[in-house]
Amino acid sequence: MNKPKGWLNVLIVLAVVALVVFPLIIVKDSEFGGADGAAEEAITEVAPGYEPWFQPLMEPPGGETESLLFALQAALGAGVIGYAIGYYKARSTKRERSDEHSA
């Protein structure tokens, strides 16, 4: 079986961190908003007078609650990924051991 290359994974994580941090360093005077407000601007620029015809059924009351929900989303996903990888890892270790026994 393919053994994990630890150093490669470390490099990958470092590269991702660098890709995220780099814009924060080189771009000054920006809040890095991905805000929906800015989206409105871009559309009204092209199509002034456009009125959204439907509102979200439920909206987080503020930034704090919104970040709570986003954190929850990431945490849930990360939990499942951690569970699955851990499960697979333990299973493959167990299989290798029982192979050794029977051999």
Partner: protein
Amino acid sequence: MKKKRMLSGIGVILLFALYFVWNEPQTAYAMHIMEGFLPVKWAVFWWIVFLPFFLLGLRSLTKLTKEKPETKLLLGLAGAFTFVLSALKIPSVTGSSSHPTGTGLGAVLFGPLVMTVLGTLVLLFQALLLAHGGLTTLGANAFSMAIVGPFVAYGVYRAIIPTGRQRLAIFLAAALADMATYVVTSLQLALAFPAASGGIAASFIKFAGIFAVTQVPLAISEGLLTVLVWNWLVAYNGQEMAQLQSIKRGA
């Protein structure tokens, strides 16, 4: 061989440097199309385009879980991967943030249609609870993120895998799926909001300039993270992965 690799490495770094130099920071946004922000006829149009893919996806998902119930955990992992990545709003060189899509991994593992269902569920969650994206625009957003993205990922993977460079295939599949998603989003907005002068093309260039450019570093991050998870899977669950590959070839 080694020299060639080093040269291509330097080439990539140079391209990147050029990209950063050329790219003037600006206020922008890059994410899913918001609730109510597509005119009714376009919202309906994209829903109609999206639905058949979703139904086919449901069918192939039930088939998969019935024939191979042991893949459920891997399915959960693929869904969780999109779930996590969609929650990460990452700063980009344009001075705005966007998030990756994470649909490439599942598309490569299970085929694109299964990922249509999982990606749509993530979009639905965000539309309902986070007011991010929307129900009226769900058809359009699902088309870009849960249909075009996975199909691009799958196509790219299939095209590169004969060369035997599996990690490269995974990386490009995930990164290009991510890019394609936002290119399609730009196109959808351009179709709905053609510029007064220059029409759809001018509008597309405007939106793509915002969306696609912001997405470049994120797409690379997504490609790298997908390779990371792939490495773990190959190391610890190689058997199941090999089985999945052989099923798809048979199908």
